[in-house]
């Protein structure tokens, strides 16, 4: 490892360089809103995940490291801050999304800068943030001199980039060969087959068991089979997290829709409903509207 002084070349004040490096992290956040191909978003996302916090730390502390030591410090610190960001989000009960991780990571970068600023204030280093930083710092990561070795590194980098593009493209388009020709729905389980055991206008009980982690405060259940509404009894929330209840419906002689609406302030997750009355239901499907204030389960009932 070598301690170096500022080298000749294009330079800018430290505060501006650090601000610029922080700003680059925001590009990944901006790109996460979509609209750009994945391979293009790889560059800012890669910067955020593999470089940004390390670059911030390196720039803030000073230009002391170079070569593979700098590379190692940069990537290691950056990987760890991403993991820390995820863990912190979970600890704060914030949904762990890519954008949230990126923003939390940015927050950790600010903590690094603040830590260094505090330390520099303590050791009374006036003018530290105004010191010029050499902007031609690319070679410091490789620690190599000469055009030919740098060319090799650049070539390999391009190869890696092309490789990632290929991975991205092939990975997105190549799906496992799925053939349904051999698949058949077996007879015997009324919950999955199309068997009808109800006669038109017959009343039947449908028992609902909804395995849910949602914080259900109130549950309003209504049943509509086609245009005919039927009375429905209440759902009970069990301590196991299950909701159970019984709905009475009157089946018309046509296909209808059975709707359950759960009112919950925090609709997080609802597993597939298990409808245990074998006589009434064919191919139940649940549609979940996750972001709406109401959690809506729509259960299809084919009645013939």
């Amino acid at each position: 490892m070598t301690e170096t002084t500022t080298e000749r070349g294009l330079s800018a004040p430290r505060w501006l360089v650090v601000l610029g490096a922080l700003g680059l992290s925001l590009v990944a956040v901006a790109f996460s809103y979509g609209g750009l191909p994945g391979w293009l978003a790889v560059v800012p996302a890669g910067y955020l995940a593999f470089a940004a916090p390390g670059v911030i730390a390196g720039l803030s502390v000073g230009p002391h490291l170079r070569g593979v030591a700098l590379l190692l410090m940069t990537v290691a610190l950056s990987l760890v801050t991403v993991v820390l960001a995820g863990v912190l989000l979970d600890l704060l009960s914030i949904r762990v999304t890519g954008r949230a991780i990126a923003l939390m990571d940015l927050g950790l970068q600010l903590v690094i800068v603040a830590g260094v600023a505090g330390w520099k204030l303590r050791v009374a280093a006036p003018g530290y943030w105004a010191e010029p930083i050499d902007l031609t710092i690319g070679h410091r990561f490789t620690g190599i001199a000469g055009w030919w070795p740098r060319g090799v590194i650049a070539g390999l980098s391009v190869l890696v980039l092309i490789g990632s593009v290929v991975i991205a493209v092939r990975g997105q388009h190549r799906q496992p060969g799925v053939t349904f020709s051999t698949l058949q729905i077996g007879k015997g389980d009324p919950a999955l087959t199309g068997e009808l055991a109800m006669h038109p206008l017959q009343r039947a009980n449908v028992t609902l068991e909804l395995d849910t982690q949602a914080d259900v405060r109130t549950a309003e259940v209504s049943a509509t089979v086609d245009s005919v509404a039927g009375p429905v009894v209440e759902l009970h929330s069990l301590s196991t997290g299950q909701l159970v209840g019984t709905a009475q419906i009157t089946a018309p002689a046509r296909v209808g829709r059975f709707q359950v609406v759960l009112s919950t302030p925090n609709p997080t997750y609802v597993a597939s409903p298990q409808i245990t009355d074998p006589a009434t239901v064919t191919g139940p499907e649940a549609e979940q509207v996750d972001s709406a204030p109401l959690l809506q389960l729509v259960i299809w009932v084919n009645v013939t």
Partner: protein, 634 residues
């Protein structure tokens, strides 16, 4: 003057025999050999997938992979060929990464990969961490890999698999750089750094196992990064630089702890060993090691007592039974494990893998003899001593490969202990008096040119044996090469039929809980979003298939109470033994059985029993809905 300081002087050009004018070697050769390797290895995979003869595709693989490895070895063994630089390090990183990448570039294939992809998907489903995974119960408690992959996937829009491959590729490169930095800093020689990187990445797990999409791949790299950063901090002269490196090393240790349990264990052992030797030696600059040790202990205690409480109970069943088995084998009262049982790898690979431990034992003995003369000066090199002692763990671990319970742990430990083996090798290879010792051998009075050529050929043969033997000792044929369907193989049992069944099952049942065999559960967990059961002695779900009687009331209660409403069977269970010897879990009563424990009649009766009804069927798979509530309660 010590031998290690001689190495540093060699680097600085004070030793004439090493600093003779260097012949320039064309860098293109390394790159072209790498391209050659990629092409040949790809062809060998293609041939094996077509069912070509084994000897043919194995030969193609080695014909492609060995030349660049030998080229790199030659550059290390003959320093006059030019200095080892970052370029060679990058070539080594690419060489030791691409065989696994080419093995399954499009999606999960290894057992753990299914579990980890499902764990990443779980973050998206639940919005939080620590979700219990059906395939490997503990991985949710170590979310480092999953958070990193999820962040990349979300920010780039790539698939989870592509994001994971990008991540493991980058971390692999960082791992190579970290080992290079360790060697370069400890010995003050880039050549020593190269030797350490080369030897470490010739370990049995390096080529395939540690490049899979699993938490171990990232955990090991964070361990290596932590050690390298601490060594750099110790060597740093500036106060600010030392502080930055020490803090980063401490954070990297925390990252390792949040990512992988075994890496945490080995990090603790390694850091403890080095810190102890540094303290006993009374060297200056002990602060970074003490800080990293304190961080490791603190973060481990915090993590294990809060997020990862199940770690001890998860790992302990492997440790004590393995020791018991070894004792029984030694006493002649137990059956020891036979190496390469059922293996189809070529004879030369197996022979090489048996020779490798002997070579390493010889190297270690040689290093001990060489440095014994200067043992009084060990206090100047406490980190070297600590790492070397850590490397000695390789040898007892090799003994555990003869224990059925301990073999897996032994295999995994090599990925860590080889760091010490690499250091020992670097100390031997880069020892400045080595050529003189060879020349002084009176047994061979050959002309210098012939003796030199013989010595070089011998060294390359040793390198070749280590590379071939270690790859063979790592993973079996089904993991290394694609091929036709094989029942009971985790890598060759995934078929379009099974994937379509899993997807169709999901479309009907969502995240249902299912009892099924180990191989079907991989597809069900990933493509079917199902939570598959993990049968055990206290939860013998396999009794649904083995017994002609109804399931016991206790089992029926367990299944009903835990909402296991589906049973999926593969009809081939009735006729074939699994390649890996396991139908469900390693602790199943019929593990390693030589006869099929599920007769066709036992499977057929499921069509008539009142507590199960078939709801789906494909050519080989049947899905039953369980109605165990019809059985009397316990």
């Amino acid at each position: 003057m010590t031998a290690l300081s001689l190495i540093a002087r060699e680097r600085e050009g004070e030793l004439p025999e090493v600093t003779a004018p260097r012949r320039r070697i064309n860098l293109n050769l390394g790159l072209w050999l790498t391209v050659w390797a990629v092409v040949l290895v790809a062809i060998s995979y293609h041939r094996s997938a077509e069912g070509a003869s084994r000897s043919g595709y194995y030969a193609l693989f080695w014909l492609g992979f060995l030349p660049p490895m030998l080229y790199l070895a030659a550059r290390l063994l003959w320093p006059r060929l030019g200095p080892w630089r970052l370029t060679e390090t990058l070539i080594l990183a690419v060489l030791t990464w691409f065989p696994k990448f080419l093995r399954n570039p499009y999606g999960a294939l290894y057992h753990d990969e299914y579990a980890h992809v499902a764990a990443v998907n779980d973050i998206g489903t639940s919005g939080g961490l620590y979700t219990r995974n059906p395939l490997i119960s503990i991985i949710g408690q170590y979310p480092g890999l999953h958070v990193l992959t999820w962040a990349l996937q979300q920010l780039t829009g790539l698939s989870v698999w592509s994001a994971g491959e990008l991540l493991t590729g980058v971390t692999h490169l960082v791992g190579v750089v970290a080992v290079f930095v360790i060697g370069r800093t400890l010995f003050g020689s880039e050549r020593a750094g190269g030797v350490m990187a080369f030897v470490y990445f010739a370990n049995p797990n390096a080529l395939y196992f540690d490049n899979q999409f699993a938490y171990e791949s990232v955990g090991i790299v964070l361990l290596l990064g932590c050690i390298a950063l601490t060594i750099l901090a110790t060597a740093a002269t500036g106060r600010a630089t030392r502080a930055l490196l020490t803090v980063t090393a401490c954070l990297t240790a925390a990252g390792c702890i949040m990512t992988h349990h075994l890496s945490t264990l080995f990090l603790f052992v390694l850091v403890s060993l080095i810190t102890a030797t540094v303290l006993v030696a009374g060297r200056a600059n002990v602060a970074p090691w003490v800080a990293v040790w304190c961080s490791t202990v603190l973060f481990s205690a915090l993590w294990l007592s809060s997020a990862a409480r199940a770690t001890v109970s998860y790992l302990s069943p492997y440790a004590w039974p393995a020791i018991q088995q070894l004792f029984h084998s030694a006493a002649g009262s137990g059956k020891s494990r036979q190496l390469f049982t059922g293996s189809v790898s070529p004879t030369y690979e197996r022979i090489a893998s048996y020779i490798v431990p002997l070579i390493l034992a010889g190297l270690t003995a040689y290093a001990a003899l060489t440095y014994w003369r200067v043992k009084a000066q060990w206090r100047q090199y406490p980190v070297h001593v600590g790492l070397a002692i850590f490397g000695l763990l390789y040898f007892p671990a090799a003994v555990f490969t003869f224990s059925a319970r301990g073999a897996e742990g032994a295999h995994r430990s090599w990925g860590f202990s080889y760091l010490g083996i690499a250091l020992i090798t670097a100390a031997v290879v880069c020892h400045p008096s080595r050529p003189a010792l060879h020349r002084a051998n009176p047994a061979f009075r050959l002309p210098p040119r012939v003796a030199g050529a013989a010595r070089k050929t011998g060294m390359l043969l040793v390198v070749m044996t280590i590379v071939v033997g270690n790859v063979a000792a790592g993973l079996n044929d089904a993991y290394r090469f694609p091929g036709p369907y094989q029942y009971g193989s985790e890598t060759r049992s995934m078929t379009p039929e099974l994937i379509s069944l899993a997807k169709e099952f999901r479309s009907h049942e969502g995240r249902a809980k299912v009892v099924t065999d180990r191989f079907t559960s991989l597809a069900l967990a990933l493509y079917g979003d199902a939570f598959t059961a993990s049968p055990s002695a206290s939860f013998p779900a396999w009794n649904l298939l083995t017994s002609a009687k109804n399931p016991s009331r206790e089992l029926a209660f367990q299944l009903t109470n835990s909402n296991y409403h589906y049973l999926i069977i593969d009809s081939r269970m009735a006729t074939l033994l699994p390649l890996v010897g396991i139908y469900f879990q390693r602790n199943e009563p019929f593990y390693g059985s030589s006869s099929v424990p599920f007769p066709a009649a036992a499977l057929d009766r499921l069509n008539t029993v009142p507590w199960a009804s078939k709801v789906m069927q494909t050519d080989h798979y049947s899905v039953y809905r369980l109605h165990l509530e019809v059985l009397p309660s316990p």
